[in-house]
Amino acid sequence: MGEHAAKLQKVRLKTPLRAEDLAGLALGTVVYLDGTVYTGREGVYKAAIEDGWPLPTDVSGLSNVNFHCSPAAAQLDDGSFKVGAVTATASFRFAKWLDQWFSLTGTKVIIGKGGMNSETYRDIFVPHGAIYLTTVGYGTGALLGRGIKQVKAAHWIEELSIAQAMWVFEVENFGPFLVESNLAGESLFEKTNREVSANLSKVYEGTRPATLRRYGETDDRSDEVV
């Protein structure tokens, strides 16, 4: 990586992440993982939490890292899987299931896209001792694909399809990720948004609000759409 990467703090951690691993992570730290990671998004959450499907495997014994993603993958004729790229999907849509998911599985790390809002961190992540890692760029699909050494399982692939199945990956030097929320529930994105918002009224000078307004419209640009 280039000169900017060199300025950031970097760590490489093994799954399952221990409490002391999590405690040492500051916002904006670059993280790489070794071990086991599983995927779960709306399909998995809804099945397990709303529809009462028994978990297809002992998730808590497997890994405490839940990746909000689905891989670019195909099933080969012999039943094995070919995984190409891996990229996260926007996490804020899954907030409503996470409290129960954390209780059900003991998950401590969510990897995803875009983070959560600070209420979700405060009310759900902090009580469960969980943190959030964001993928980079959205995404470094090829780099993350390289980090997957083996597909250990693809649960519920018949029921939920390739995109929504629970994939279990053995990973090595899997990253980069950035620490978006720490154990205190602070958010790198929200911190950033406050800094960016400070400049916005100047940028908007010389523009004009649309003649035709919309219901619910706001001109408070510190608001977020997530």
Partner: protein
């Protein structure tokens, strides 16, 4: 007559090239942005993306696992004919989409909006979309594969003549700021702006402007070109960079396309392509020759014609893009 096999083979290859190979024009734009980016986190993201482009090419794996919604743009020469006709052509594009999805592999993204039925091949009702355009004095067919995300970064608004350039700037900023936070728009990106047309065509023009024009291209109308330059500068002055981090890397380029609209309105759309800007084009000739490139040359003088009749001038008809 153009053989259907030649078209299907080219389409299959284009799916792969679009998914794996970052177009040079966009890569150059990102490299220039890394050089000028002062925000460490934003620059780190761009450096990681540069590494990702290399990894994708080395491993022949997709740059991004989110296939977006793969779609086709087809330009048909006025003198071209296809073996089996347009029905065979559409079947070939659907087959190539399905086969390439499994072969590369790409993530099957396409589902029924209500039942979430997934054929695991990126094909379904009205998917992939196929847009057509035509070109005078040509006997070839050009296929362009675009894989673009579709959840964030795009918006439409009905503006009015009285909203003026100030209103255009406001809506441009609104879209970039709203979807730029946390990097939901996967910026820095090529931004396409559709101005005028009917509502749906305003969206179509903006989409085509962002996906089918290359970095460095300017609208042939000098005043529109000047507005493109102004919007680039405006977007990069927000103070936001990659992933919404503090920085200046927001707009790699801005392309505006216009369509004549209702006399009382000024509809506008804004579309953000993404950090993988997946597009690839092939010209398939009658004799089966295929030439691959990354510049779709979609907006020709014929596409932008204003007059009732088209005066056929073979030399000038493919100069723009």
């Amino acid at each position: 007559m153009i053989a259907i096999d030649a078209l299907e083979t080219a389409a299959d290859r284009l799916m792969e090239k679009a998914a794996i190979e970052i177009p040079d024009d966009y890569l150059g734009g990102i490299k220039r942005m890394v050089a000028s980016e002062k925000g460490d986190l934003s620059a780190f993201v761009l450096e990681a993306m540069l590494e990702n482009y290399e990894a994708a090419k080395e491993d022949r794996r997709a740059m991004c696992a989110d296939t977006g919604v793969p779609r086709w743009f087809v330009k048909i020469g006025n003198e071209a004919t296809v073996q089996g006709g347009p029905i065979a052509l559409e079947a070939a594009l659907r087959r190539a989409t399905a086969n390439a999805t499994t072969r590369i592999p790409l993530r099957p993204n396409r589902v029924h909006p209500l039942w979430r039925t997934d054929h695991n091949n990126n094909v379904g009702i009205n998917a992939p979309e196929i847009d057509y355009s035509f070109e005078p004095d040509a006997d070839w067919i050009e296929l362009t594969s675009v894989h673009k995300g579709g959840l964030f970064g795009t918006d439409y608004r009905m503006l009015f003549p009285g909203d003026g350039i100030e209103g255009i700037k406001r809506f441009f900023l609104d879209t970039l700021v709203a979807f730029g936070k946390r990097g939901l728009a996967c910026q820095p990106a090529i931004i396409g702006v559709g101005l005028g047309g009917s509502k749906d065509i305003s969206m179509t023009l903006g989409k085509q402007a962002c996906c089918l024009r290359v970095v460095g291209d300017r609208n042939p109308d000098p005043k529109v070109a000047a507005l493109e330059d102004e919007l680039i500068e405006l977007g990069n002055s927000i103070g936001m960079g990659a992933m919404g981090f503090v920085g200046s890397s927001m707009v790699v380029d801005c392309h505006i396309e216009c369509g004549y609209c209702h006399t009382g309105g000024m509809p506008m759309s804004v579309h953000a392509f993404c950090l993988s800007s997946r597009r690839a084009t092939a010209r398939v000739h009658r004799d089966g020759r295929v030439a691959y490139r990354t510049d779709p040359q979609w907006f020709t003088p014929y596409m932008r014609r204003e007059t009732v009749e088209w005066e056929s001038t073979p030399q000038s008809s493919r100069k723009s893009a």
